[in-house]
Amino acid sequence: MDAAEQLNRLRWRCTRRAMLEMDILLGGFLERRYASLTPEQADAFVVLADMEDLELWPLITGKRECDNPLQAQVVAMLRDVRIK
């Protein structure tokens, strides 16, 4: 799979979530921030996007701690994605 195909797959997995909240957050992040991530941050984002919504939401709201500092960085950026 080439890079464009991988990005399309990631787009599908970010915008067809169980919950609307996550469609908006992950889809918005992919559109606005993903391209500027370092390769390490991009990998951390893919791990986050693979989580189920009810695992990911507590990380975003700070109810649960992230597994590692890189993940915490990306979660902080996710939190900054505003819909407006």
Binding site: W12, A18, I24
Partner: protein
């Protein structure tokens, strides 16, 4: 590609959709030894059933006396008497068994100190035929839908159900005799189109709330099964009935729970007025969902909305003690910060009435068999869950009956398939020579379209039109205009153009195909709503007001009937509501009042 080159895979049964209904149906099939394929656009536990938090209702009577007949009464009343009483009796009688079965599948229900399933009160759940509230909702904390999906998925893994994940079903295969022989589907990873040739097909694709601009539904809810059915010549039932929630975050749709108003939240217009005092002097902001939604829309329509476009109102909790907000409404604070960009401790939340649930769908009987307009069964075709219309929700759904619906009718449709496959024997019906023609020409059109409309812009135009012309409060002229506008948008949908023509993970193509389905749902909704000249349940028209002759604007003489929208020619026909239950007396017509 021609029909001759499409790979054909044979199964006893194919299920489209792996949410609660599809997974529940699949258990029946796989455990009966049928070779079963389940197609899903996403991994099963990412289905939108996850978002159902409230619970599932069953008259277990674990906390206090309860009876299925009382549950039935509440459901009929909630439906504003448009629900079919045979299907409603069936569902309410089966509810305790459905919940206990789920428990045996490993569902971690909340429990009482004695170890029984804990039950909590919920709006509209009453004992003794509407007398007083009863505790009937069974839940797993606020993750009921999530826990349910996991339990059902695990059971399917044990039963060897075969999943096709990240596949999108495109069309039903139907022969000249009207029998359904499977589906044609697209594998997203390869772009390959494959025919799933089956003795039975179950549609369990959930809702289609994305037809509206403001919707609590996840992006996945594009009504794929309804589009497929409509294109195959199956009429869609009661599509004018959509449940709206009064408080979705403006611009995002994310739900703000009723609990916010319960804790003292106040709705305000652009004059900072607490407008609910005018509409419901006693209950004020705690009036029922439909009353609050209509008041909000009236304020917006009369120019007292907020923001640059005056298109939302404000939900204010700034007068509450921040400690109370942090303690009682922490989730709401998170959501407001994330999706409205405001901290509700400091500023009010912009909200609008937001589409939440589709009561209509593919017409079925209470066995989960799809039925024609004349009541005859469509051979080989079944539907369950939000995609289906049994009809148990009628003109409005009772809270917690959505999860019950998918359990009971998921199982019923599965059982019907098992019976039919056993009875009809081992052979598959032959596929007609042109079985894939229509699908392939649709794909071909997308690949070659030049100078067409953008998918995003066309979808947005449809969503705005639905919101403005066919929202929570409906007006005759707006509906008439809405039908014309939707027909115009439909033309654009049939001429969408995509830039990406690649095969692998072409999400642009998939989104264009989803829009093909959304427009069928949108058009059926608008046309059915324009035609129904009464107010009933969730369908409320300005020109059908509350009068002594027609309380709440309901006109049983003219409109106690189900709408059936036929795609061919966009025409409507009607069929009677089943008022005769299976074993008890009819629940007689009455004015719906809470």
């Amino acid at each position: 590609m021609s029909a001759l080159t499409i790979p054909i895979r044979k199964f006893d049964a194919v299920i489209v959709g792996a949410g609660g209904a599809g997974l529940r149906a699949a258990i029946q099939l796989s455990e009966a030894g049928l070779k079963t394929a389940v197609l899903s656009k996403v991994f099963p536990t990412r289905s939108h059933t996850v978002a159902a938090q409230g619970g599932v209702s069953a008259s277990l009577g674990n906390s206090e006396e309860d009876h299925w007949h009382w549950h039935m009464y509440d459901t009929v009343k909630g439906s504003d008497w448009l629900g079919d009483q045979d299907a409603i009796e069936y569902m309410c009688r089966k509810a305790p068994e459905a919940v206990v079965e789920l428990e045996h599948f490993g569902m971690p229900f909340d429990r009482t100190d004695e170890g029984k399933i804990y039950q909590r009160p919920f709006g509209g759940h009453m004992s003794n035929f509407g007398e007083k509230p009863v505790r009937r909702a069974c839940a797993a904390a606020d993750r009921t839908g999530h826990a349910m999906l996991h339990a059902l998925y695990q059971r399917n893994v044990r039963a060897n159900t075969q999943f096709f994940v990240e596949w999108m079903a495109l069309d039903l295969i139907r022969n000249a005799q009207g029998q359904i022989l499977g589906v044609i589907a697209l594998e997203m990873e390869t772009g390959q189109v494959v025919a799933f040739h089956a003795k039975a097909t179950i549609i369990a694709t959930g809702g289609a709330g994305r037809i509206y601009h403001s919707s609590t539904n996840a992006f996945i809810n594009t009504g794929d099964g309804l589009g497929m059915a409509a294109r195959a010549g199956i009429a869609l039932e009661d599509m004018e009935f959509w449940q709206f929630h009064p408080t979705g975050v403006a611009g995002a749709g994310v739900l703000i729970t009723e609990g916010v108003r319960g804790e003292g939240g106040i709705l305000r217009n652009s004059d900072n007025e607490r407008f609910m005092e005018r509409y419901a002097p006693n209950a004020k902001d705690l009036a029922s969902r439909d009353v609050v939604s209509r008041a909000m829309v009236t304020e917006i329509n009369e120019g007292r909305g907020c923001g640059p476009h005056k298109d939302f109102v404000l939900l204010d909790i700034t007068h509450l003690d921040p400690a109370t907000i942090m303690k009682r409404l922490p989730g709401i604070r998170d959501i407001s910060i994330q999706f409205a960009g405001i901290d509700p401790i400091k500023a009010p939340i912009p909200v609008v009435p937001t589409c939440h649930y589709m009561m209509g769908g593919i017409p079925t009987n209470y066995h989960g068999q799809v039925v024609n307009a004349d009541g005859s069964v469509v051979a080989g075709f079944y539907a369950a869950g939000e995609a289906a219309c049994a009809s148990v929700h009628g003109a409005n759904r009772l809270g917690t009956n959505s999860l019950l619906d998918l359990l009971v009718f998921g199982k019923a449709s599965g059982d019907s398939v098992v019976d039919a496959v056993k009875k009809n024997g081992a052979a598959h019906q032959d596929l007609p020579a042109d079985f894939a023609e229509r699908t392939l020409s649709r794909l071909d059109r997308l690949n070659t379209q030049k100078g067409g409309a953008s998918v995003d812009e066309t979808r947005l135009a449809m969503q705005r039109t639905m919101q403005k012309h066919c929202g929570v409060f409906r007006f005759k002229d707006m509906l008439v205009e809405g039908v014309a506008k939707i027909c115009e948008i439909e033309q654009a949908v049939h001429a969408t153009e995509i830039g990406d023509k690649s095969q692998t993970w072409n999400t642009a193509r998939v989104e264009a195909l989803e829009l093909d389905n959304l427009i069928e749902v949108a058009k059926s909704t608008m046309v059915s709503a324009e035609a129904r000249r009464e107010s009933r349940g969730a369908h409320v028209r300005d020109d059908a007001p509350d009068t002594p002759a027609h309380p709440n604007g309901r006109d049983d003489e003219a409109w106690l009937k189900h709408s059936l929208w036929h795609r061919e020619g966009s025409t409507l026909s009607y069929k009677p509501v089943v008022l005769t239950p299976l074993s008890v007396e009819t629940i007689a017509l009455k004015t719906r009042a809470y």
